[in-house]
Symmetry: C3
Subunit: 352 residues, 3 copies
């Protein structure tokens, strides 16, 4: 019997099957430092214990996307080792903040299946839940991937496509306290009240990616997808080189968004996301955001949700807000179309 | 109103203006590990809690230059986003040692202004002070930069050029205790008493820099200067590629200086510094030092100050001590001319 | 007197001489995060405090090879600065687990000497012992290197070649407790009982190495061997470029071996090792392993030793198990031939 992991094929996913993923992971300040070095993040909450305590946190939580990538990474050997494509994300929520010393693990449940008409592949929908050592949800999300069948002739399962929300509703957002906000230290005078739906923000800066950087990030998350690491096989592959993990682009876009969204110190939801085009070492990533919606969080006057679309571009400054043409086709520079909800402090009513 | 930071122009700096910089930063053992991995530092004090405790410290402090870079990085978005050139440093002092867990912030005060005769730029002098969560000074320094004017026709401010010391005097050096020195573990038998003014030391080794390395270091310090990160714009720029943050060269030169200055476990002052020429990925950095002065610290028989000039060269071994020609022009290989003061243990009188 | 370290020459090694190496080093979670980012390790014990506690450890120990590299790195300035070649390792044992916060130091003793017939070099055998702050052995090993003589005409020492075991015997393995094993979280259903001597495992995956990655790893270990860092001199050298530290290849092969040996969460011994061919940035490393021996550990029913040969290949998938030809010559793709012993949980007798 072979002792290596062949990964799951489409036939191995049955509706309702629960997969406990391997390699629990204790996050540390070492991971935080690497995340800063690899992305350039400057949001004050994840950067300073003192700032975090002033807000009401016991210490600086790790960046939400660092936690997401670690939770996601664990699913790769079981869910996407034989994947042809990562098709999308939806209904992602951030729960308990993650602190250095917390140990994360991930469990996924198959919630949808749909064989493709070519009979060689099928789409698998899983809901993955990352929990800490106390069993509290830290991040959960749905993702769907196209997976190879082991055998073209194996019978197709009953088709089940889950009904997914377009966005996580305000009442489902987990919002920690926002006491004692210091806009100067946060690096932006603009609060929740200052952003208007439809407003677009050019995040100005560009960040060039090196092979060592994306490979280190992806290994840090213990994400084992071969396409990110093996130049020997990829040089004969479709692109001739290693693909960058799409999550690294999300992280870079988020880090760039500090310039214009400095008060958006925490993520609350991932409503949807699409890696529109592949990225490679040498690409320079720019980003712009559009405010999609300003969300009141029930019972909370201190903090609100801001639903954003952040678009990442490669080798194209974001000031032109490149996105889609009249036929709905993405501009060739677009690499990421990310719909998510951030938390921002609100102006006290007496100033409103 | 644009929500992105346009940076300050020359007109925005008024004499006496105080700027509280954004993004407080908690330093951790993660930062320390990255600093070691990126520079190769081997000084025992920052490397070992046990060595530090034997000297009288509660734990290993972080490398002084790591603290400096973090304090410096915060000033970039406010001070040098529109800078044409970083002209110099002076009167830098290291105060309270920084330990993992400490949170640093930076405040700068404008102490000098001088419009240039072309009326398009001016020189701004700021004193920047980094403090920990108890408000103790950890590092302070003066730097002057040439900054663009927003409008050539705006009136020139009154010219004020601060009077800066050539070197920080011995009575202003902050020297922690140096009990129980172990020369073997420190890696050098040479103490303060053994160095003579005029003595030159070839640090022998060379270190080649990769793009990923300097970019990671500079992001770790949350330094946002665009020239270090954006190959897409820099390829059309003056040099055709990304410039390395000058502070990374200071750190490499300091790390190389272990070979010959292993007992110089702590920095006390930055007297002056000039980035003589730009450096780029692929350059190999060498360094040599000259002892400028042996400084007695008032009331201290255990430790002394050694004022050094460390010169970094690119692609030129340091054994030739390349520096300046007869007309005072720097040798083309010189990239850094750094004047600073280190602390070194002194021989006990009975052995002297 | 020159203040830089010239290293030791063959004449400087006398039988029985003890060398206390410089720069004690406190290992931290920062080192652990970097090690993960640079190697991609996924073994559960070093990854999760919770998993470690369930086994009976107080917290997740650092990866055994990280500790080994740090202990080894300290010996370079004293043992191998003037080395022509690193010839081999033997009799390596891992003792007390290393935890973040532990401070390691290394002492070496000269246990063998043999001048070569050309009189220009000699072989030095040293036993190096790494200890923690409580003086407990964390790793010890014998290594022999070919070192230059300072003077061809200096007299040859009496020849002493130590008698070294082919493998560390089972009674000398240090095995911590293995309570409460969770095979799902460990990522492999295969336990000690399931591996058979002679069995070969293709670890499938490949990992491409960048200059920045191996240089960061090697600096992290404070290993100062010039060949890894200085492209300016190496471009004129034998290979025209920087050599990768052989230990980095051991670490990559070990990380790759997770796929097939996921339950091998701890190293117990290094029986022998040979860096068969040099590696360079751009190489893609693959690995396969052969089970050499299944070792019962006296008095232990919970855990056993598995002696393995892991072979690393460059730019050659491991499924062909490339090794040696009929004349005993290594296949040109082989870069590492590593003989070591891992610890694995055993099946409870009632299931056996």
């Amino acid at each position: 019997m072979s002792k290596t992991n062949p990964g799951n094929f489409f036939e191995d996913f049955q509706l309702g099957r629960e997969i406990v993923h391997a390699t629990p992971r204790t996050l540390t300040t070492g991971d935080v430092a690497l995340y800063t070095a690899l992305t350039g993040g400057r949001f004050a909450l994840a950067s300073s214990d003192e700032f975090a305590r002033a807000l009401g946190f016991p210490a600086a939580p790790v960046d939400d996307l660092l936690a997401f990538h670690v939770v996601f990474g664990k699913t790769v050997p079981d869910v996407s080792l034989n994947a042809v494509a990562n098709l999308g994300y939806a209904d992602g929520r951030f729960g308990a903040p993650v602190y250095p010393g917390d140990t994360l693990r991930t469990v996924s449940t198959v919630i949808g299946l749909k064989e493709n008409s070519n009979r060689q592949t099928g789409v698998v929908y899983v809901r993955s839940t990352g929990t800490n050592q106390r069993g509290e949800m830290v991040v959960e999300y749905v993702r769907w991937v196209m997976v190879r069948k082991r055998d073209k002739d194996s019978p197709a399962p009953a088709e089940v496509v889950p009904d997914l929300p377009r966005a996580v509703s305000a009442d489902r957002l987990v919002a920690p306290p926002f006491e004692s906000w210091d806009a100067t230290l946060a690096g932006s005078p603009h609060l929740w009240d200052d952003y208007q739906p439809g407003e677009r923000i050019d995040h100005v800066d560009g960040m060039t990616i090196e092979e060592a950087e994306h490979a280190m990030a992806t290994r840090l998350y213990q994400n084992t997808a071969k396409v990110h690491f093996n130049q020997h096989t990829e040089k004969e592959g479709r692109f001739g080189r290693r693909l960058i993990y799409g999550g690294h682009i999300i992280s870079l876009a988020r880090a760039l968004s500090f310039n214009g969204l400095g008060s958006a110190v925490k993520l609350a939801a991932i409503n949807g996301g699409r890696h529109v085009a592949p990225t490679f070492a040498g690409d320079t990533i720019y980003a712009w955001s559009e405010v999609l919606e300003r969300m009141e969080i029930p019972g909370r006057a201190d903090v609100g949700g801001l639903r954003l679309r952040t678009v990442a571009l490669k080798d194209e400054p974001a000031g032109g807000f490149a996105f889609k043409d009249e036929r709905g086709e993405h501009h060739p520079a677009v690499v990421l179309d990310f719909d998510y909800t951030v938390l921002m402090p609100r102006r006290a009513k007496t100033h409103g």
